[in-house]
Chain length 327, copies 2
């Protein structure tokens, strides 16, 4: 059935019935003019992100489930990057009148899977029509002690929670495959490279998981999530902290899958690791000498952002990652 | 200058500098991964709305200022409709790479004017690129005692805070004029009907004000804002309350401007008043016998929704107002 036949009100009714179970801190969910919650006595975090068809995702290789899941993950990642716990979700969904109710339901399957993963509740939203699919989300969370980008001090060590470049390589793979791979259903498809190599990369692009900072939060002095590329986001953290950074190229964690697939694609592994976006790993700093469960890739210095190559040569780093509107 | 030349980061920097003044309850505004606020010990309200070019607005007759102003008003109206006080705003802005920085700044002029009017603070947002202009907002507020749609009881009287049909008539006028009228600058243009007649109607369409329920809140039993048309929104309130309604046609407040302009346009004044959307007046119920500063248009009954015409004849009402996706 097309959305134009179902109508906005019955779509809202679908959501209302689907998300009727309310946790104790949600006084009123979907269905009135506003949602109502009982806030905790704690600093409250807010973030919002929009994803537009043909800009942020391509429906020729993205399933609606993956779109919904990723929308929630990218927002949750911004809450995690402040050392917060995500709690509530508001959504805007817009699609063509010719889109199907099945498409709509499957976007919400992905959203619901992510909600369960992160322990958050959908409390409200808006549905409208547009030529392209547009989704946006606002996520709220709490943090007794939140962490800014601005706390890094010279001498601190620089960490990341996992390998970088995988998502960008996964995107490059999908651009060459150009077919939907419903990994959420455990489906494999025949690829020109080994499934075990491709899978972690395309999963990182299609259905990224946000990284919970719980294990590292106590020691960290500044934090950001890697959405636009390691060096770009590092430069933002440094700029906010008024410091510089030295990154040791050979300490950057690079997955074996990235090595193999980037070779297959003829892309530079290092360029993908330094500048590839959307890994949603956390990048943070912590004082030297602390035991941290993450990859130490360098140290905070007074000023300038440098990469030290495998021969020990220090070079000024490029900090141009993905930016909307940039040529 | 084009947005593609300025780039996403400098647009965020423009916003950050512009909205740097933080009230005491905003711990962290624009510029980190999330915004941080200190919540009041009070039920907290959330609402979100998206506006898409060529669906919700037409840039051939809507100035960027008017777009920004209206985006905030429609969201604030949803907070007011719960008897809440709006407090914080998060925004998503998306436009073509060829759009100008001036366009961007003027959308935020309108947003800022509305923020001042309603006493709210911008705490965060997201900027991206898209073919059409897309804006969405999430507004948060507080309500010690919030009001649902579901509290209406048979015998209650039905009220609206002001005349209806003006916004729909204003839209019809703009569709025939098809020119920008920067009313925010006090500019008049020559029209085929008197300016004093046209102005209140086009203002209601282009730059609607949300209605603060403060004066009527204490007495009200149920409330909704009129966004999709009087009878449609009344039917929603009735459906949530499990009741019916009797509306006396001759008690519906109709502005003299609507009478004149609908005649000029050859449209039914009554149809515009009953079904025209986007007036953002509040529709509410209150027990009989209370002194209420609003227009009493009917009463709550057990079931069914009826309009009583000027000859006293009772007719089943049409409750089809504006709906996305409906043919």
């Amino acid at each position: 059935m097309k959305l134009s036949v179902a109508g906005e009100l019955s779509l809202l009714e679908i959501l209302r019935k689907r998300f009727i179970k309310r946790p104790h801190d949600v006084v009123l969910g979907i269905g009135d003019d506003s949602a109502v919650i009982r806030p905790q006595n704690s600093p409250m975090l807010f973030t919002t992100d929009m994803m537009v068809e043909e800009v942020h995702f391509d429906l020729s290789w993205t399933t609606p489930f993956q779109l919904g899941f990723k929308l929630v993950s990218v927002n949750v990642s911004d809450i995690y990057a402040m050392c917060g716990k995500p709690r509530f979700l508001l959504l805007n969904f817009s699609a063509s009148r010719n889109a199907s109710v099945d498409f709509f339901n499957r976007v919400f399957d992905g959203i619901e899977a992510a909600m369960k993963k992160y322990g958050i509740s959908l409390i409200g939203g808006d549905i409208s029509s547009s030529e392209k699919v547009i989704v946006s989300a606002t996520v709220m969370g709490y943090a007794k002690r939140f962490l800014r980008r601005s706390g890094a001090r010279p001498g601190d060590r620089i960490y990341i929670t996992g390998p970088v470049g995988d998502a960008a390589c996964g995107l490059a793979l999908m651009k060459s495959i150009r077919k939907k791979i419903p990994i959420e259903l455990g489906k494999k498809i025949k690829l020109p490279l080994a499934w075990d190599t491709a899978y972690p990369l395309i999963e990182r692009h299609l259905m990224p998981s946000a990284r919970d900072p719980e294990r590292v939060a106590m020691a960290a002095t500044a934090m950001i999530d890697i959405s636009d590329g390691l060096m770009t986001d590092l430069s933002r953290l440094c700029s906010e902290s008024g410091v510089g950074a030295l990154v040791y190229q050979d300490r950057i964690p690079i997955s074996k899958e990235l090595r193999k697939a980037s070779e297959y694609l003829g892309l530079s592994t290092l360029a993908l690791a330094l500048a590839g976006g959307e890994d949603y790993e956390l990048l943070f700093t912590a004082p030297a000498g602390k035991k941290i469960e993450a990859f130490c890739i360098g140290e905070v210095i007074q000023s300038g952002i440098f990469v030290v190559d495998e021969r020990g040569k220090k070079k000024k780093a490029s900090t141009k990652g993905y930016q909307h509107f940039k040529i």
